[in-house]
Symmetry: C2
Subunit: 426 residues, 2 copies
């Protein structure tokens, strides 16, 4: 199957903010050629981009896809009430099968927002794997063991099983929920498994001031990052989610082990956790990505909102409108996240890479007139500008329509029933 994307403006993200007019030829799931004007015989489909922008899809580097049930069910509440009165009781009733359906809703939302891959941290990873493969969505699955749920043994099994699958859409990484839900013993066992398999480790970390202070009390004054280093959990690389509160020493450690920081400004602001000083991290050359977090805490899974917010929060934090430069933020949402997720094969538009491509509708009023397309994307772009989302060479979303083999009305009904049951006190 050969698809030719004609008459586009192209932002490869491989060449700074340079944008040129051209075509892209896709052969099966691979970008075969990018050029000024591609002439080719025997192409199966030609898509006229009509001057709209092609760019790499956004990579959502932190989410919990199955948590769509928690959208708008527990907002404007203190954190402990949010967790204890809503999220935890609902999760206790959640079945693996429920997760399959609920994850699909999030995948659809990713597609509509131009997100072509997500880093999905949740238990029962086979459910999100099933949903991803069914829809043709790219997912890096992430284990999330804790003292309460799933063991290192189960995670190693998932790691070996999922990474031996014969497909390029899903893979699995190792992770634990957080320092504050993990025992020393479990984390030592995890470090051992990581060493044996040369596996990276990912976790929620340094999300709030309170979390860091409590960690220090528990672990002889060590911050969560210092504590992880002391256990050997950083030896094979990986990343932390949130990273709102990082000390100078934490930053040194993260750089030493090439650990990425995935910022989730939507979630951090909605839960009043604080603003991660991304400008400082950038100046220190920390590897940075962007994530939406789950629908329970954000509540949208929308990379446009996340990018705009990430930028303006830097300006507010530093009282300086030059901070949070739009192109730096765009890099976080694409190549930065991709690097942290280990998706070097679909990070930019380049010959030989997987065809994970989105088309941005520039012919909407929020994109006009055009002074600077990269700044338009971050400061006035919206998911309504997503004209097409292509993953692995397949168009999964175009002009508001989803090209997935599913009855969406039925799916919504099913997820509503699941959610009503989870909320019920029976």
């Amino acid at each position: 199957m050969k698809i030719l994307l004609k008459n586009a403006r192209i932002l490869t993200m491989n060449d700074g903010d340079n944008i040129f007019d051209g075509d892209i030829l896709i052969n099966d799931n691979i970008i075969e050629k990018i050029g000024k004007e591609i002439v080719v015989k025997n192409v199966d489909q030609i898509i006229d981009c009509d001057g709209n922008l092609l760019m790499p899809g956004f990579k959502n580097a932190h989410t919990h896809s199955a948590m769509s049930f928690a959208r708008s069910c527990s907002d404007d509440l203190p954190l402990d009430k949010w967790l204890n009165d809503c999220i935890f009781p609902m999760e206790d009733k959640l079945s693996a099968d429920d997760q399959y359906y609920l994850s699909k809703i999030s995948i659809l939302e990713y597609l509509s927002s131009g997100i072509t891959a997500c880093f999905d941290m949740y238990y029962n990873p086979l459910e999100m794997m099933k949903a991803s493969l069914e829809y043709g969505f790219r997912t890096v699955l992430l284990g999330t063991i804790s003292d309460f749920r799933e063991s290192v043994k189960e995670m190693v099994e998932a790691y070996n099983y999922i990474n031996s699958q014969n497909n390029n859409l899903v893979k699995y990484e190792m992770g634990f929920h957080a320092e504050y839900t993990a025992s020393d013993e479990m984390l030592k066992e995890l470090a051992g498994a990581s060493k044996k398999l040369h596996a990276k480790i990912f976790t929620h970390s340094s999300e709030t001031y309170k979390e860091v202070e409590e960690c220090k009390k528990r672990h002889n004054g060590l911050t969560p990052v210092e504590y992880m280093e002391s256990l050997g959990l950083l030896d094979n690389g990986g990343g932390i989610f949130h990273g709102v509160v990082l000390s100078d020493n934490d930053i040194k450690i993260l750089k030493r082990y090439n650990i990425g920081v995935v910022s989730c400004p939507g979630s951090n602001s909605k839960l009043a956790s604080g603003i991660a000083p991304l400008s400082k991290y950038k100046d220190e050359n920390v590897l940075l990505g962007l994530g939406t977090d789950g629908a329970g805490s954000n509540n949208c899974l929308d990379m446009f909102y996340e990018m705009h917010l990430a930028s303006v929060l830097q300006k507010l934090l530093y009282k300086d409108p030059t901070k949070g430069d739009a192109f730096d933020i765009l890099k976080m949402a694409t190549i930065g996240s991709a690097k942290i997720m280990g998706l070097d094969n679909c990070d930019v538009l380049k010959e030989g890479k997987y065809a994970d491509i989105i088309m941005i509708d520039l012919k909407q009023p929020n994109m006009q007139p055009i002074n600077n397309i990269a700044k338009n994307l971050v400061y006035s772009g919206s998911k309504s500008n997503i004209k097409m989302t292509m993953i692995n060479g397949k168009v999964l979303y175009m002009d508001g329509k989803y090209f997935v083999d599913d009855d969406l009305e039925k799916l919504y009904k099913k997820c509503q029933e699941i959610t009503n049951y989870l909320k019920s006190t029976n």
Copy 2:
């Protein structure tokens, strides 16, 4: 012309956050009936809402529609460079005719974001009036005199001329740019005109800490609000835009004269001006509205972004996730803004009001499952959920299509040419 909107969920905004299933009958430009199931003969058009939500359109209570030329042309710059190197030189070259075309782009963006009326502060108001009437858009035009442009005399002429027009789509209010661009003499003359015509006065005020401190130096320690009061500029009511930095005495004064505060969180954060303490203002019963500001400083004219940001900034400011409650923010964006703009005739869905109605597509993944529709709107809603925008009984936008008598490709081309000329150094 009678239109029946069938099978909807209805949020009137006149009845708290209550949502019920029902129909709405529109007779010409008026809501004739709202009810459970309306049976009527001789209706010209029936629109099946298919369970989607009808609610009052958003009211954008602060904008500069003609400034679409400045979108993404001067971001990530210090404020003085933004103004002096970009905005002011471009405005110097801007013709009245240019404003007509550039304003149209913003109106289209309002329609796509469910905004059914704007409070448009710019000079040459007849241009935005022309664009609004041509498209059928509702605009409260606002004068913006300063020491540099337009006089009280010209504003009084515009006030009398525009408010004597025989239409219900446009009206005109009096305003001045800001304390820091206005002489005592001009403001005293303005206060006199306001008294004579019983006209409200609106202005940019208390946007930054620097502005307030410099005002105090110029005016014997008076804040901008205190200074306006001292000149009698508040005697007939009105409003201030931004209101980021207000003292307790300012708040007392604003309440005494029933002066509204229009918050513009998108602009205030992008320019690093600060966060208006809206939770405090709300607790003090200050009349609150929401605005996008112009495309030069925001850069999107999107009430979904503005609502979401307004809410989460309160949570961050107070380090408290219970602040910035979603429904309070939704009230600001609809009935609060309408009150400040003097649009009591189209503020809520009620029999006898003008039919300014939007339809929200609930059948998109970012609105599923449904736990709380009001929270969905603020925390996960997007302009992509705007299925229909109706103003004065006419559908102007539906399913991504604009029902305006214009060639949009030509309009975009024209505005790009204007913008290129404004940016050129010739």
